[in-house]
């Protein structure tokens, strides 16, 4: 029964993201805009671009994750769906987990999948492209789970997007550091690729546990 409830939740959030006004495409387009504009700002130096390309992609990914995060719980809080979820025979932690998973599937995953394509815009070679996509795939769950805590804290604040960004951005920096260092280690350097990648995976796992518990606690507290 728990599985059925959680599957319904994930299915509903995926359907909502796909409908008009959903946040699914928004963060992807925002990601594309940053990546497309940076080469114009830096000028036509291909060596420079390909050296800082992974950093640009990661920076864009962090900022794109922030877009749409504020509606993660706020939309449900406003229309009363959150009351429905607290009344479900499922722990609130699992509700949060299902919602964050659906959110990652509609924002983080498309970002990681599209990053090789966007890597072309910043003159990445094949290895760097694959490495960046892999690090984004492993690292974006950490961004989403960290962001979920901020989203839960600001769920009952109208126009809380700014506070959310201020609260959450510092907590995303470790993920950013290890994400970028892993993608740079793939195309040379003294550190083997696996070392920062494993730390990145660990960050995602830690964020999944702490983020879920903290977001559920924040939702309970705000009630």
């Amino acid at each position: 029964m728990v599985i059925r409830a959680l599957a319904a939740l994930v299915r509903r959030d995926l359907a909502l993201a796909a409908r008009v006004g959903g946040s699914g495409a928004l963060s992807l387009v925002f990601f594309l805009m940053i990546v497309a504009v940076v080469p114009f700002a830096l000028g036509p130096d291909l060596n420079l671009l390909s050296r800082i390309g992974p950093s640009i992609l990661w920076l864009a990914a962090v900022l794109a994750t922030l877009i749409g995060l504020d509606r993660l719980f706020q939309a449900d809080e406003e229309d009363g769906s959150l009351d429905l979820m607290t009344g479900a025979p499922v722990p609130l932690e699992l509700v949060v987990l299902a919602k964050v998973l659906a959110h990652w599937l509609t924002t983080g995953l498309p970002l990681a999948l599209a990053s090789p394509l966007f890597g072309l815009l910043v003159a990445l070679d094949g290895t760097a492209m694959g490495a960046t996509a892999l690090t984004l795939l492993i690292g974006t769950p950490a961004l989403t789970f960290v962001g979920a805590v901020g989203a839960a804290l600001t769920a009952s604040i109208r126009r809380g997007g700014l506070i959310l960004a201020v609260v959450v951005l510092p907590l995303m920096i470790p993920t950013l550091i290890f994400g970028v260092s892993a993608s740079q280690a793939a195309s040379g350097g003294t550190v083997p690729f696996a070392t920062p990648l494993i730390i990145l995976a660990a960050l995602s796992l830690i964020a999944a546990v702490i983020g879920t518990l903290a977001a559920a606690a924040a939702l309970r507290w705000s009630e």
Binding site: M1, R4, A5, A7, A8, L9, R11, R12, A15, L16, R19, V20, G21, G22, E78, D79, G80, S81, D83, L84, M85, T86, G87, A88, P89, V90, I157, R158, R159, G160, L162, I163, E223
Partner: protein, 213 residues
């Protein structure tokens, strides 16, 4: 199930809403909560739904096994819990799967409320009264013994009010409980009435509830 509230008191933003509120509700019993605007009717329902914590007093449920109070109740209030982009069918199917203990298909529930033609329409296209009827259809898609209704007749036409009265009577007949905050008669026989708050307080400056951002 049996619901017992004793000596409830609640404050919101430092202001006392009500205190020393007690009632007991057994199977097949309905409670109409009345009172002037701002007396605390919705606050009482929020307490029962578990969204607010009382400052004093207790709320107990008996004869429900291991379920908590929040798992025994349906809430239909001003915030209807419907997602505008989704169709009525999707909204009801979601509620049924999330809340468990399904009893009816979304189509059957909407048929009872005379809204079957809206089954595959996005809820955003519906009028306020039709939206409310979709929210009320949620009461039928899965079984929960306690119905918490906050002004259920708001925006409903007279025919739908009669349908709602029939549904509530049937629910009570099956041993359910109904707590409804309302300003008008809901057409229920032998419903008890609980009036919150006495005379209206002297008007005073409203506290600033809006924060600056």
């Amino acid at each position: 199930m049996r619901l017992t509230a004793s000596d409830l008191a609640v404050r919101r933003s430092g202001r006392r809403i009500f205190s020393d509120l007690s009632f007991t509700l057994g199977p097949g019993e309905a409670l109409m909560v009345t009172g002037r605007n701002g007396a605390g009717k919705s606050t009482l329902l929020a307490l029962l739904a578990g969204r607010l914590k009382p400052d004093a007093g207790t709320i107990r449920v008996e004869d429900v096994g291991e379920a908590t109070l929040a798992e025994c109740l349906h809430v239909v209030g001003h915030r209807d819990g419907l997602k505008s982009p989704l169709t009525a069918r999707e909204n009801l199917a979601f509620a049924r799967d999330l809340l468990g203990a399904p009893t009816a298909e979304p189509r059957e529930a909407l048929e009872e409320l005379g809204l079957v033609h809206a089954l595959d329409l996005p809820v955003a296209y519906l009028s306020a009264g039709q939206r409310r009827r979709v929210a009320l259809a949620r009461l039928l898609v899965c079984r929960r013994p306690l119905w918490l209704l906050d002004e259920p007749t708001a925006a409903l036409d007279t025919a739908s009010q009669a349908v709602l009265a029939r549904l509530m009577a049937r629910h009570l007949g099956e041993g359910g409980l109904v707590v409804a905050a309302t300003h008008q008669s809901l057409g229920l026989e032998n419903a008890r009435e609980l009036t919150i708050g006495g005379a209206a307080p002297a008007p005073r400056a409203a506290p600033a509830t809006e924060v600056w951002w």
